[in-house]
């Protein structure tokens, strides 16, 4: 297969589906109880040097509690999929967790601005980068989920994004068109936050799924954090709603408000004040250090973090905001 052009970026992960198959062959398919604390899940499943991916979309249904725990446990030298990554990226940069990164969208916080500390980290030379796009990374996960070494797409060609990617351009043998080949991305370990899971890891997600269905299937190891545990009978009552089946999952952690201070659709809206505080405090390294100590390093878990930021009263406010009930109350 003649390669017409190829990016100069490094491929941080092995796209070979036969190697992934050997791994998956040994992965347990038993319907066994995978419930554990998030602390234990991160201790036993997230290892220094591995390649990490985080579900959700930055500050939407992202497993923020897990990002805190990864930083708290001081994980280092990881690879990272910087895919639609915003507040999660900000947290992982605060912990200098990774030293190589596939980039689609990083350091930015969408309409909220940019993370000064994440930018500084990415300008420090400490992180090796390869450039992609949101769809390219989604397509790379999709290739892995399909069990093939790549899928072709029609984006990226002609740009510097291609030049600094690890993609290849070939000619389609059916149509003669040029195609960008996106190499399969199998993360070593991923974390996805969902609305509901049973103890085996069968999951329900409401609202947009972003690239999480592909991510769950592409990942060698998978930690699920969920707002609520549900009985297995609930899963079996409506099998059409299962979006992640148990055999993909290694750990299930029940973390109510696990996406706070981000949004969890149909549950709670983002805490914009606290997210602003993050950006603002990052501008002063001393203050930021103290902020991280208080909010992450000295904080036991997500429950303690939530308590620190207004507890259930605040969560109820965010629930009102999620359902736009504050407007109805205002108008009444």
């Amino acid at each position: 297969m003649e390669v017409l052009d190829q990016g100069i970026g490094k491929l941080f992960t092995d796209p070979d589906p036969d190697h992934a198959r050997e791994f998956f062959r040994k992965k347990s398919r038993k319907l066994s109880n995978k419930l554990m604390s998030l602390q234990k899940a991160v201790e036993t499943l997230v290892h220094d040097g591995e390649y990490l991916a985080i579900g959700g979309f930055g500050a939407n249904r992202a497993p923020i509690a897990a990002c805190h725990e990864i930083v708290r446990q001081g994980k280092k030298n990881m690879g990272f999929a910087g895919h639609t990554s915003t507040h999660d990226f900000q947290i992982l940069c605060a912990g200098e967790v990774f030293n190589r990164c596939d980039i689609a969208y990083i350091i930015g916080l969408e309409a909220r601005g940019l993370s000064p500390n994440a930018r500084k980290y990415m300008e420090s030379g400490k992180v090796e980068v390869t450039e992609w796009t949101n769809y390219s990374l989604a397509a790379r996960l999709k290739a892995a989920a399909m069990g093939v070494p790549y899928v072709p797409t029609r984006n990226v060609m002609g740009t510097d994004t291609f030049k600094y990617s690890a993609g290849k351009i070939v000619e389609c043998p059916f149509t003669g068109q040029k195609l960008m080949l996106q190499p399969a991305l199998y993360p070593d370990i991923s974390v996805i936050h969902v609305h509901e899971s049973d103890i085996f890891g069968n999951c329900h997600i409401r609202g947009i799924t972003i690239a999480d269905l592909e991510l769950a299937r592409a990942s060698k190891k998978l930690i699920i954090t969920c707002e609520k545990l549900i009985p297995n009978e609930e899963i079996r009552r409506d099998p059409s709603s299962t979006v992640i089946p148990f055999y993909l999952v290694d750990a299930v952690c029940e973390i109510p408000y696990g996406a706070y201070p981000g949004t969890m659709v149909y549950e709670y809206f983002s805490d914009e004040e606290h997210l602003k505080e993050w950006i603002s405090v990052e501008k002063d390294p001393e203050k930021f250090k103290e902020f991280l100590k208080r909010n992450i390093y000295d904080c036991k878990d997500q429950a303690e973090y939530i308590e620190m930021h207004g507890g259930i009263i605040k969560m109820n406010e965010l629930r009102m905001k999620e359902f736009l009930l504050h407007k109805e109350v205002d108008n009444a």
Binding site: S136, V156, D160, I208, V265
Partner: protein, 257 residues
């Protein structure tokens, strides 16, 4: 002294580009305000899509994120990123609105880094493509909303994050990107540009009230072409302003910038 600000002018001008029954991929900010204004004026059947998965919500307010709850409020579908991107790639989506730190005369956009040198240790790191490269590759017409400014309109962008007409002429089609796609119009606070069909160079087609072609050229880092007839942009009507201020952006998140 006009009774509107420059952001209101840009949003209104962008909204007018969207015909009824069209599809458009939108981000947060001005593009979203423009889509909302269009739906409340001339394009009630505009179909809006957010790259994270939301399709045709009844937006109750401006989203903060292209993936937040507002993007699926009373929506037609809450899907995923591949669903949206592949719908664009199949040719179903007419417009996308983008911005960028830099734009060149062929409409190429930079959102990756400022300054040359070592890509692994950039002078100024920017967020990267996000979905911009994808949407500009797949959607039929790329629209850009951006302030007119010499530091933004540059001879050569430091990094082509998102494809415009690439090196002009037929270079975009030769690159392998889907046929018939490309930058369509650039909307700034001073006027609007399209691209000369053969060379694909940026060309002024209209000027906003209070500005001239010279103002646009003076605030542009490369030589602009001139359309045979440069029209004067109609200022926002009272009705457009009322809807924009009262219904689209009552908290002035966008138009207050």
């Amino acid at each position: 002294m006009p009774n509107y600000n420059t952001m209101e002018m840009m949003v209104t001008a962008a909204a007018r580009e969207l015909e009824d029954g069209a599809t458009t991929a939108v981000g947060t900010g001005a593009p979203c305000a423009a889509a909302m204004l269009a739906m409340k004026t001339k394009a009630p059947n505009l179909v809006i899509m957010f790259e994270a998965g939301g399709v045709s919500p009844i937006l109750p307010e401006m989203p903060i994120s292209v993936g937040d709850s507002r993007t699926t409020y009373k929506a037609i579908m809450a899907s995923g990123m591949c669903e949206i991107m592949e719908t664009c790639c199949r040719g179903f989506v007419d417009y996308v609105f983008l911005g960028g730190a830099q734009i060149d005369m062929y409409g190429n956009l930079n959102a990756t880094r400022l300054g040359g040198g070592d890509h692994q240790k950039p002078k100024t790191r920017l967020p990267g493509s996000g979905g911009a490269n994808d949407l500009a590759s797949f959607c039929w017409r790329t629209m850009v909303i951006t302030p007119q400014d010499k530091r933004r309109f540059v001879e050569k962008v430091d990094f082509i994050t998102t494809p415009g007409w690439l090196q002009g002429g037929d270079s975009r089609e030769k690159s392998g990107l889907p046929k018939g796609t490309g930058p369509y119009k650039i909307i700034t606070n001073m006027g609007a540009m399209d691209f000369e069909p053969k060379s694909k160079r940026m060309r002024v087609i209209s000027v906003n009230p209070g500005y001239s072609f010279k103002d646009i050229q003076d605030n542009c880092g490369f030589e602009l072409l001139k359309a045979d007839k440069i029209v004067n942009t109609e200022p926002p009507s009272d009705e457009e302003l009322r809807i924009l201020r009262e219904e689209v952006d009552p908290y002035r998140y966008i138009i207050g910038r």
